[in-house]
């Protein structure tokens, strides 16, 4: 029996020794230079290989992040904490995006914009848009099914009661997942220090905008009028005004007059309650 014990130890120890030595030698012979960040990211991931990110296991995700295939916040199981650590490891790229913030370029909630139809399919903007371009009367406005809310890895987007996404800027990391998810390009990234942007993307004529939405840009061009703003700080591109950030800097003060004159109150100043639309007056008809 003692020889059996001895032989068992011999066999298992021998196998272990042979394989251990073999692997040690192989790791020298077949050494391949890898991106150091992959291992660092792998170390901060939960390591459960759950596959929720879509990658096959945590090492696959780590590799995908370094290649730009997955966003730094792609680890669903890890949540915001892991996302922050991964972003730190990825360094420069994350920093670049950290200086951006997501903005909602539509203000036409259910109380302001008309619906053309009742939609009762999948609660997802990308699905809703397949059915005759979505239920909203405005062809360009936010559909409000919260696809961006679901896409946000940091829980920074919440749908308001009126069916418009609201960005919590304290949580937003500027990763751009909502921009990718939105089928109507309502979500956009704005450099964090810029204060003002246009809250409408509709390039339609005033009348058709007015008929479907009370806060849409009607393209009157009053904001670009030299009477209110000098030096072409706002120029019209078709029916939409374009703010020339390089001329106004980041603040909103230089556009004060234009913002006040806008009949629909389309300019949104970040962090403030959007300006209220003024009563319609005759002198702004384009």
């Amino acid at each position: 029996m003692e020889s059996g014990l001895f032989l068992a130890m011999l066999v298992l120890g021998g196998l272990g020794l042979v394989f251990g030595a073999g692997l040690a030698i192989a790791s020298k012979i077949f050494y391949v230079q890898r991106d150091k960040r992959i291992e660092m990211i792998e170390a901060v991931l939960p390591g459960a290989n759950c596959g929720a990110c879509g990658a096959p296991g945590c090492s696959g995700f780590a590799e995908g992040v370094t290649e730009g295939k997955y966003s730094v916040g792609g680890c669903t199981a890890g949540g915001p904490d892991v996302a922050a650590l991964v972003a730190e490891i990825m360094g420069t790229e994350a920093e670049a995006s950290a200086s951006m913030v997501a903005v909602v370029q539509c203000r036409g909630g259910r109380d302001k914009a008309a619906e053309a139809a009742v939609y009762s399919g999948i609660e997802d903007c990308r699905a809703a848009i397949l059915v005759d371009n979505g239920p909203k009367a405005c062809e360009y406005g936010c559909l409000g099914f919260g696809t961006c809310e679901a896409a946000c890895p940091f829980d920074a987007i919440v749908m308001s009661g009126q069916g418009l996404p609201v960005v919590n800027e304290a949580l937003c990391t500027g990763c751009g997942e909502c921009v990718k998810a939105c089928p109507r390009n309502i979500m956009a990234l704005l450099p964090k220090d810029r204060q003002v942007f246009l809250g409408c993307v509709s390039p339609d004529f005033g009348k058709s905008v007015k008929s479907v939405c009370s806060v849409g840009c009607i393209g009157c061009g009053i904001c670009a009028n030299p009477k209110f703003v000098e030096d072409e700080k706002i120029v019209m591109d078709g029916k939409l005004p374009v703010i020339q950030y390089e001329k106004i800097g980041n603040g909103a003060d230089e556009l004060k007059n234009s913002i006040e004159k806008c009949p629909s109150g389309c300019f949104v100043i970040r962090g403030k309650v959007p300006t209220k639309p003024r009563k319609e007056t005759a002198d702004i008809e384009s």
């Binding site: 020889s3 059996g4 032989l7 068992a8 066999v11 394989f19 073999g22 391949v32 879509g54």
Partner: protein, 209 residues
């Protein structure tokens, strides 16, 4: 006769005793890596690869080191009676499979970056997979010879791939379905896996003879 036996083993491994849907082994990658069709195919190929190699190597080790037969190499080298070390098979097989997979991963990472990209990331996931250990132990339990073990390993891998790819295809469709909120994600996937297992139960009536 041998060919017929191999055929029976193949059909049995792929359909009748499918590793995932009949033996319920390897369920972790079955749920985890079935979200996208292309990852499912990659994972399946890696499993086929590892199962084949593991079947071959574990069979050799079992036959020549652990089993008390006249061909036992220990008995020959040390001039003792062939010892019965079959109780070591589980730990020995785990050791063999894990080292083997690590080794293969290193080799293909160096020699074939293309193959590594398609298989490499899945390999570490399989090192201690129960399906791979399962196929090695089944080969021994069924008293297969070397060729039969190899066939069983390869075909079991194919069966695993079949189940995984079917599942991935279904889950891609499921992404668009209007699933009740509480059932989204893993719950509906488990229910679907159960339905698939029921469907594969139909193959149990298959008679080859």
């Amino acid at each position: 006769m041998e060919i017929k036996m191999l055929l029976i083993i193949s059909v049995s491994a792929i359909l009748v005793s499918n590793f995932v849907l009949h033996r319920f082994l390897g369920l972790c990658p079955y749920i985890g890596v079935s979200r996208q069709l292309d990852s499912a195919v990659g994972m399946g190929m890696a499993v086929v690869f590892v199962m084949s190699i593991a079947s071959a190597v574990t069979w050799v080790v079992y036959r020549y080191f652990l089993e008390p037969t006249p061909v036992n190499l220990l008995a020959r080298w040390l001039h003792v009676n062939p010892p019965d070390l079959t109780f070591l098979r589980t730990i020995a097989f785990i050791l063999i499979i894990a080292s083997l997979v690590q080794f293969v991963e290193m080799v293909i990472q160096k020699t074939s970056p293309g193959l590594y990209r398609s298989l490499g990331i899945y390999l570490p996931l399989i090192t201690t997979n129960c399906a791979v250990l399962g196929v090695s132990i089944l080969n021994i339990d069924q008293d297969y010879n070397f060729l039969q073990s190899l066939t069983n390993g390869f075909m079991s891998g194919i069966g695993f791939t079949l189940a995984l790819v079917l599942m991935a295809g279904l889950r891609e469709k499921l992404e668009l379905a209007n699933v009740p909120r509480a059932m989204r994600g893993a719950p509906i996937a488990f229910i679907m896996a159960g339905c698939m297992a029921l469907a594969f139960l139909g193959f149990a009536g298959l008679k080859i003879g």
